[in-house]
């Protein structure tokens, strides 16, 4: 026997094939994974989507997603083989020995029950604590998680607390059953950077305090570097390499890991003078949804041929500003201009050429493309509507555009669901290009993509800028991207512009407090960054 808490040996997971379809072969999702975890140890699993990270995490609980099956291998948890265990045996395990914290706490809590009831469910099912004691422990945990009013917190419903609080409540729920192992599946990915750093710090503290082992799944190396003792890099269901965190970051062995470590290839440092001609301007914009005002006196200017980055947390009004510029949400006050000509606030009042010249690319290509239209139809339609292209010429144009965005022309006949995330976003770029625009608004275009894929998309957008002189507005919360490619930066908070100007000016001292908070909250790929930031903040707070 050994002293491993969790041990996976040559774990293989494959898709279940319909037995009626004889020729179909199962696809291997995990191709022989070995993993060991000692008590109190944290191992980070990192890789792109489809790498099998979550599948490993769930396998640690003896669970395979619908449509998948564990085809071979062994999983030992605390000396007990859990593969092939009965449902009742596995239920004993889950919550007591191993717990799970999911990416979207909002989707994991039942909106109809109070938080306390849900956090305590596991102690009730396993009956290892009486109610009074369990409630006391929950309050302790809430307090430990830094949640406001720990005694009353549990009486709230999930919709009454913020996203960051909910994620902490979920960690409290995982700890409630005093498990030996917690599987964290991208627990901070859906959070803003400023919230992420708090949640991250608390997760790190409590797993150290409770001596819980953890599997930490993420695609963000900066995050995993703060929390894990070891990192395992995965790709397409197979291990790429595994090393202690420090040595992986400093001396990666594998080419793929090296790529992951230096994703950002292009950096733009051109500084534009203030007298450059303005392609698109917004002056003193107020806008509201119903009675709720979401933009308050916002003015921005996009210089011709440049990149303007609008950054801020969710709820800062950056996407609303994009909707105002596109004419989808008429502002209650303020004016818009395009090439020094006034731009009507309502879409229907704009000229055809104005509509053609300003295009938009969305965050989620999945919902930005009609699943029942072929790629050729999706890309071809704007060419017909905006440029007036005939049906015969359209297909040639579609092929040309596919070539421009580095996709094979055969893809024209495919449907969106046959494409990968990165390919879908390229199609959306091609669709925007089909209108031959001057300005493209990119609303979080890379945030749903894996880092390497996202970098490819940014490279493509910049290549197109060099070729066609397109100006971009990047709406994003990715500070690293802003630092790399923006010419000008606008920082927004709660519907107002906090700071704006050339990148070099915004990102250099003297800092605006909020800009500094955003910048310092972005995880960096080095060990000890989290502690440094927290210490710094404590010192600042103490000094004031």
């Amino acid at each position: 026997m050994n002293d491993y808490l969790l041990e996976m040996r040559d774990l293989r997971i494959e898709t279940i094939v319909d037995s009626r379809k004889k020729r179909a072969k199962p696809t291997e999702i995990l191709k022989g994974i070995d993993l060991t975890l000692r008590r109190g140890e944290v191992v980070g699993l990192i890789g792109e989507s489809g790498a099998g990270k979550s599948t490993i995490g769930l396998a640690a609980m003896g669970y395979a997603r619908r449509g998948l099956r564990l085809s071979s291998g062994e999983i030992w948890l605390d000396g007990q083989q859990i593969l092939g265990g009965s449902v009742a045996q596995l239920a004993q395990l889950r919550g007591q020995k191993v717990a799970y914290v999911a990416q979207s706490a909002a989707a994991s809590f039942n909106p109809a029950h109070r938080l306390l009831a849900q956090v305590l469910e596991v102690t009730k099912i396993h009956k290892h604590m009486n109610t009074a004691k369990a409630e006391k422990r929950a309050v302790e945990l809430f307090a430990r998680m830094g949640l406001p009013h720990p005694e009353a917190f549990g009486m709230r419903y999930p919709h009454e607390v913020s996203g960051g609080q909910l994620q902490r409540a979920m960690t409290a729920m995982a700890l409630a059953g005093e498990p030996d192992l917690i599987v964290f599946d991208e627990p901070t990915t859906a959070l803003d950077v400023t919230t992420q750093i708090d949640v991250l710090a608390i997760i790190k503290e409590v797993i150290q305090e409770y001596k819980t082992a953890a599997l930490y799944i993420t695609h963000d190396l900066g995050v995993v570097a703060q929390i894990s003792d070891r990192i395992k890099v995965l790709k397409n269901g197979a291990e790429v390499e595994e090393q202690a965190t420090e040595s992986l970051l400093n001396a990666p062995q594998n080419a793929y890991t090296k790529e992951l470590l230096n994703v950002r290839s292009t950096v733009i440092e051109t500084e534009l003078s203030d007298d450059e001609p303005v392609a698109l301007g917004a002056e003193g914009i107020d806008a509201s949804y119903g009675t709720v005002q979401v933009l308050n006196d916002v003015s921005v200017a996009l210089k011709r041929g440049s990149n303007l980055a609008i950054v801020g947390e969710s709820g800062s009004g950056k996407s609303t500003l994009a909707r105002v510029i596109m004419g989808l949400l008429p502002p209650s006050k303020g004016t818009l201009s395009y090439n020094d000509q006034p731009l009507s606030s309502g879409l229907s009042d704009r000229t055809a050429s104005q509509r053609k010249s300003i295009q938009m690319i969305y965050q989620l290509p999945d919902v930005a493309m009609n699943p029942r239209q072929t790629i050729a139809e999706i890309i071809g339609r704007p060419a017909q509507v905006f440029v007036g292209m005939s049906k015969q010429n359209t297909l040639n144009r579609v092929h040309e555009l596919l070539h421009l965005v580095d996709l094979p022309v055969e893809m024209a006949q495919a449907y969106p669901n046959q494409l990968s995330g990165g390919q879908k976003q390229r199609v959306c770029i091609a669709r925007a290009l089909a209108a031959e625009p001057d300005v493209i608004i990119c609303d979080e275009v890379t945030s749903a993509l894996d880092p390497l894929v996202a970098d490819g998309i940014i490279e493509l957008l910049l290549k197109l800028q060099r070729k066609f002189g397109i100006s971009y507005i990047f709406i994003t919360h990715d500070m690293a991207m802003v630092r790399a490619i923006a010419n000008d930066v606008v920082v927004m908070k709660a519907g107002t512009v906090v700071e704006q100007g050339a990148k070099a000016r915004v990102f250099a001292p003297p800092f605006n407090d909020y800009t500094h908070l955003l910048m310092s909250s972005t995880p960096e790929m080095r060990v000890g960054w989290l502690e440094n930031v927290l210490t710094e903040r404590r010192m600042e707070a103490g000094g004031q």
Binding site: L328, Y362, A368, E377
Partner: protein, 274 residues
């Protein structure tokens, strides 16, 4: 089509067999029988025999011939009424979902007002006022059924309308026609297709009820509901004459429902695997 059949579960396949046999029988059956539906060929309420397989009706007409011909009438009227309901309800529902605002408000409230009346009673009032003819019946049934089709279409189209590709199309300044046929309809078609089956069954039951009450299809045309009424008295003599047309209607309804259930299950499964 064959692939679709392969995907269906056992009960849905049984449904397909029932419906296909029913449709073949009502289409070709009357041509193969020695008696027409209106010809008096025996005495009143004869029990089933070698000459009259299902017996005869209240004036001595062959019951099998009348059920097949009446079934054909019921199927045709229900089918066209359902088509009418979808022709009214679908475009309005999609337009309401896409346009929103006052248009949505007015149409939805009007439909609500129409739905507030019990369907059968409204149909009885209108039909007694304007008189019973096949065109007026079709129109009445189409309008009544279109309210539910509108509700469903608006609900599923609202999901689609929230998608960003609709916003993209809006930014392109597309016409309502494009939204209808290119953006929304292909995405909601599976749901509407299954609803068509359900509406068809309800239409068949409605027309039969109306005929049973004497306001549906008028003699001498046979139809299933009317036949139950004509032969209702026979039940006191222990004859099966009124049961058989009712059974035929039930068979059609069960067959269609089995198919619809199977299709709904299949669609639900597809969604899970995405």
């Amino acid at each position: 089509m064959i692939n679709l059949l392969r995907d269906l579960n056992l009960s849905a396949r049984i449904g397909v067999v029932i419906v296909v046999v029913f449709l073949l029988a009502v289409t070709f059956g009357p041509m193969l029988l020695p008696y027409s539906a209106v010809e008096i060929s025996g005495s009143v309420w004869e029990p089933p025999s070698a000459t009259h397989w299902l017996g005869t009706d209240n004036v001595g007409r062959d019951l099998l011939a009348r059920i097949l011909t009446g079934g054909r009438m019921t199927v045709l009227v229900s089918f066209f009424a359902t088509c009418g309901a979808f022709a009214i309800g679908c475009p309005l529902g999609i337009a309401a979902a896409i346009t929103g605002g006052w248009f949505d408000l007015i149409v939805t409230r009007s439909v609500d007002a129409l739905m507030a009346f019990p369907g059968l009673i409204l149909a009885l009032i209108v039909l007694s006022a304007i008189g019973t003819s096949i065109p007026s019946l079709l129109m009445m049934m189409a309008v009544l059924s279109s309210t539910i089709v509108f509700r469903l279409t608006r609900a599923v189209a609202s999901d689609v309308a929230a998608m960003e590709y609709i916003e993209v199309a809006r930014l392109r300044g597309e016409t309502m026609r494009w939204f209808l046929f290119k953006e929304v309809l292909p995405n909601v078609a599976p749901t509407l297709f299954t609803e068509f089956g359900l509406r068809f069954v309800f239409a068949a039951i409605l027309i039969s009820s109306l005929s049973f009450l004497g306001l549906g299809i008028q003699p001498p045309y046979p139809d299933l509901g009317g036949m139950v009424k004509e032969n209702a008295l026979a039940i006191t003599f222990g004859r099966s004459a009124p049961i058989l047309p009712a059974l035929a209607l039930a068979l059609l309804a069960i067959g269609v429902n089995l198919i619809v259930d199977g299709l709904l299950k299949r669609n639900a499964n597809l969604d899970l695997h995405k």
